[in-house]
């Protein structure tokens, strides 16, 4: 009985300590004099690894999710003779929810796990310690560019996802199922608002970018430096980041559209 309570206490303390350590890591990595000339090439390289290489999976899944939305929406809306509403249905569900959320989930799986594994392996092979030996701060040199790369890339990916998804819905709805071309776009334009929908979607993806990248970096930085530790940290990154994204999405939706 006492053991169980002690375990609960330990778990609580560990969680709080972990949150504090994560915050400290982020603070140390990001706060400081920016050295543009040194960090710019590092940042570019990371944006390439994290953002550009994620482009294929984002575009393909965006296209298919948009097409599925178009197909499913059409079969329901046509019963009510409201198939012109297919445009706003596809656009709003992509811009408000699916764009930011699915991008964040894919990003956690595609890029977040890679970040964790990379930093975990750097730790296991003592590259991080060697950097410190050479008086290079690994937080500034390794963690900071990866964080900013994720932070910048994900909103761009989410916007591309939504745009491609809307085009996918257009292909299925208009080209295939025969919804009127003009009505598809004009009803969409009448219902989608630049600030309420597009800007809020971008704000969502900025928040998700922050959280997912942060979790991935911290899990890698704090992992047990063994092969088992790295594999656990990678799994934990995907699970924690996905849960955080879904939970935060509910909170953000309630705040923005509630």
């Amino acid at each position: 009985m006492l053991n169980a309570i002690a375990k609960l206490g330990k778990a609580t303390l560990d969680t709080i300590a972990g949150a504090g350590a994560a915050l400290l890591m982020l603070g140390k990595a990001l706060i400081g004099v920016p050295q543009l000339r040194k960090s710019w090439p590092l940042l570019l390289q990371q944006i390439y690894a994290v953002g550009v290489l994620s482009l294929v999976i984002i575009v393909v899944s965006g296209l298919f999710i948009g097409m599925v939305l178009g197909l499913q929406g059409y079969t329901i809306l046509v019963d009510f003779g409201a198939e012109q509403s297919l445009g706003p249905m596809v656009a709003l569900s992509l811009l408000r929810e699916l764009g930011p959320v699915v991008t964040a989930l894919l990003f956690a799986g595609r890029a977040g796990s890679a970040l964790t594994a990379e930093i975990g392996l750097m730790k296991a092979t003592e590259q991080l310690s060697s950097l410190e030996m050479m008086a290079v701060d690994p937080l500034r040199r390794v963690v900071a560019p990866r964080f900013w790369a994720g932070f910048y890339s994900m909103p761009i990916l989410a916007v591309i996802f939504s745009a491609v998804g809307i085009y996918g819905g257009y292909i299925v709805g208009v080209q295939w199922l025969g919804v009127d071309d003009g009505a598809f776009w004009s009803v969409m334009q009448a219902n989608v608002d630049l600030y309420d929908d597009i800007l809020n979607g971008i704000i969502k993806s900025v928040v998700f970018a922050f959280v997912v990248t942060w979790i991935a970096l911290y899990k890698g930085y704090s992992c047990v430096p063994t092969s088992v530790g790295i594999s656990r940290a990678t799994t934990s990154t995907v699970v924690t980041a996905s849960l955080a994204v879904l939970g935060l999405d509910f909170v953000l939706t309630a705040l923005m559209f509630g």
Partner: protein, 155 residues
Amino acid sequence: MESRNIQLAVGVFVILGILALSFLGLRAANSNAATQGETYKLYAKFDNIGGLKERSPVKVGGVVVGRVSAISLTGDYYEPLVEMTISAQYAEFSETTSVSILTSGLLGEQYIGLNPGFIDDTVVMLEDGDYIYDTKSALVLEDLIGQFLFSQGSD
């Protein structure tokens, strides 16, 4: 050379992002043409605004000329006051203009319909901040059903 390729790829990535954003902004979203540029405000008091919301369209014969910019209660009897922002392109409404709250379709959104009044030498044109006094309130379905039942019962 390696780093130049990376720079190119990142540049293409950013351009793609900007293109996607402008696609969303220009093609998918309402660029709100009727209330961009010069606008002026008109006010109207109603008994009941029904389901009218801020940003609902203001139409003349089906053409959007502006949007509802604010809804509030005014006066001692708390009458709903609707502030309409109208594009300055359509600045020539006379004071005999009437305004009513209409519904698009059977179950659609509610909007404001402006009916331009007649113009002769004695009427004045509406200007920024003027009130339109000839108003017709929204049709509330429950009231209609109530009136119908009442009239049935009195037979």
